[in-house]
């Protein structure tokens, strides 16, 4: 039995060491970078202390991007949760074709982002595409809508596209949570005379809430990080209207050649996310205990 302990450590070691090297160590490096003045990779590194942090924290661009990131996260969370919950509830029932639906709904998640980008760039384009001609034909609008032409419409459109991509994945996770609610409870409730809405309110919702909570936290962390969709569709524009924090960091590092400043922003973003994760999990634990 003693050998199993040593064996267990041997089995875990490769994964742990791998993660420590590829994720852990760079994290430490990023913090170090943020305290220096590095412009390009391999460039000179003067020690600056907290200068970078002062500069970043007092820069309007940083706070603008932070604000956009927060709106981005909230918008995504709301839209995805609503869509995912609706899909999960529907897929939890039995009707012809539900098996296929369950398997393939996740199509939007398994395709590369670039495909998503092409699909929607084309569908929403003002010349050609599918959505605008349909809208015009149906008489809903008079001229084609420029979905990407103003900062706010671009932002909203991006939120929709990103949600379109992720909601099936979240829905499947919710479906897992729904599956764990025993059918007996619903049948007992039905015998007691509860209708569909009451069953949802008194059984589904309370028992699903913990799963929803966990998904909300994970979903927030994931959506914060989204970079490629925004970059490929709007490059952070128009006029910086969709320049969330990841976009700003990327630009600062690779277009502005200010690596240390980018590292500083990354560290600050990390702190924000960690604070959120800690507060969120603690709130979840507390409501779990209730």
């Amino acid at each position: 039995m003693q050998q199993t302990r040593a064996l267990a450590l041997v089995l875990v070691a490769p994964a742990l060491l791998f993660l420590a090297a590829i994720l852990g160590w760079p994290l430490v490096q990023a913090v170090i970078l943020s305290l220096q003045d590095v412009r390009v990779i391999g460039g000179p590194a003067d020690y600056l202390g907290w200068d970078n942090y002062q500069r970043v924290l007092s820069s309007g661009a940083f706070w603008d991007s932070t604000r956009l990131s927060v709106i981005w996260v909230i918008g995504n969370a709301l839209l995805q949760t609503v869509l995912a919950l609706a899909v999960a509830l529907v897929l939890n029932e039995k009707f012809p074709g539900v098996r296929i639906a369950r398997s393939w709904i996740i199509l939007t998640w398994i395709v590369p982002t670039v495909v998503v980008v092409i699909i929607w760039r084309w569908l929403l384009s003002t010349s050609g595409g599918m959505i605008n001609p349909l809208l015009v034909q149906a008489g809903i609008v008079e001229r084609p809508v420029g979905f990407f032409s103003t900062p706010w419409t671009a932002f909203a459109t991006l939120i929709f596209i990103n949600s379109w991509r992720w909601f099936p994945f979240i829905a499947l996770m919710m479906l897992a949570g729904l599956n764990r609610i025993p059918d007996d409870l619903y049948e007992a409730a039905r015998i007691d005379g509860a209708n569909s809405w009451q069953r949802f309110k008194r059984i589904t919702w309370p028992l699903l809430a913990p799963t929803l909570g966990v998904l909300a936290v994970i979903g927030t962390l994931l959506s914060f990080n989204v970079f490629d969709i925004i970059w490929l569709l709007t490059s952070g524009g128009p006029a910086g209207g969709t320049r969330t924090l990841p976009v700003l960091i990327y630009e600062t590092a690779f277009k502005g050649y200010r690596l240390s400043e980018a590292a500083t922003m990354s560290v600050l973003a990390t702190l924000m996310l960690m604070a959120f994760a800690i507060v969120a999990t603690r709130t979840l634990d507390r409501s779990d205990r209730q």
Partner: protein
């Protein structure tokens, strides 16, 4: 279960709505890829193609580096998947079937990997890879993809390993099997659906990865699909037909894999996932 006809109709309508929401855009893209250019940009769009041409595909494969991108993506995705599985399966087995000091602390640390934005490690990682000469090499991508897929993969395997009854393990012990033999002959066959799930997750993540690839790969010949293809998009004169064909081809491998073992993935997620 008797349900009112109204609720049933509502269910089917919702189902149809979501299938449309998800499926229609893809249908438009795939059907558009075989339309002649004039039909693609026509004023009134067509649901079913009125024309048929393979010109976009020939242009894609003959006239651009697309095939290279495709091949690179395949290599990276398959390798990342293998690496992820090789690291995740023993680790998950150790975390969820064996006992050792610091087990829960280490497990929680691994999950913390998702609490910070991936952008953070991008810059230092580039520096690290530059130092050991891995910049502009495919193995760098394999390493990065595996690293990001690993925590979630271990988490996903948790419920599958936990689902194997302890008595089966004890029977194997009584039969004289060593721990490694138990892992190989008993555990792995019994968590096969979980392994399929992790495999798909790792493959898809690697297949769709953009940010790190765009930074770590410099030469066009080594680009993977997302990056290479987005380069094609960025051009001023947009050739929709070409893009639609490219998008269609990019979908094919993942859809094919999903058709084969996707059922396991979905049931793995929905039946297996626990907190």
């Amino acid at each position: 279960m008797k349900r009112s006809a109204a609720i049933n109709a509502l269910m089917v309508a919702c189902g149809a709505f979501f299938v449309t929401l998800v499926g229609l855009p893809f249908w438009w893209v795939v059907s558009g890829s075989v339309k002649v250019p004039q039909e693609i940009i026509a004023r009134t769009p067509t649901m079913f193609p009125h024309s048929f041409t393979l010109q976009h595909y020939t242009k894609l494969f003959d006239g651009s580096a697309y095939p290279d991108y495709l091949l690179n993506s395949l290599i990276v995705a398959v390798s990342s998947t293998v690496l992820t599985l090789v690291l995740a399966i023993p680790a998950a087995f150790a975390f969820f079937r064996l006992d050792f000091p610091g087990r829960s602390a280490l497990y929680r640390t691994i999950l913390l990997a998702y609490a910070f934005p991936s952008i953070v490690v991008l810059i230092p990682l580039f520096g690290l890879f530059a130092k050991i000469g891995l910049v502009d090499r495919l193995p760098a991508l394999v390493i990065v993809n595996a690293a990001f897929a690993l925590p979630f993969s271990i988490w996903m395997l948790r419920s599958f390993f936990a689902g194997v009854p302890k008595e089966i393990e004890e029977a194997a012990v009584m039969d004289g099997a060593s721990t490694m033999t138990i892992l190989r002959r008993i555990m792995i066959p019994l968590v096969a659906p979980g392994i399929a799930s992790v495999g798909i997750y790792a493959f898809v993540s690697a297949w769709t990865e953009y940010v790190f690839t765009s930074v770590l790969i410099l030469s066009d010949a080594k680009r993977t699909l997302p990056v290479g293809f987005s380069g094609i998009i960025g051009q001023y004169q947009i050739d929709w037909g070409l893009l639609l064909a490219g998008a269609t081809v990019a979908i094919v491998p993942v859809v094919a894999i999903f058709a084969l073992i996707g059922r396991g993935f979905v049931s793995g997620l929905t039946e297996g996932a626990v907190k």
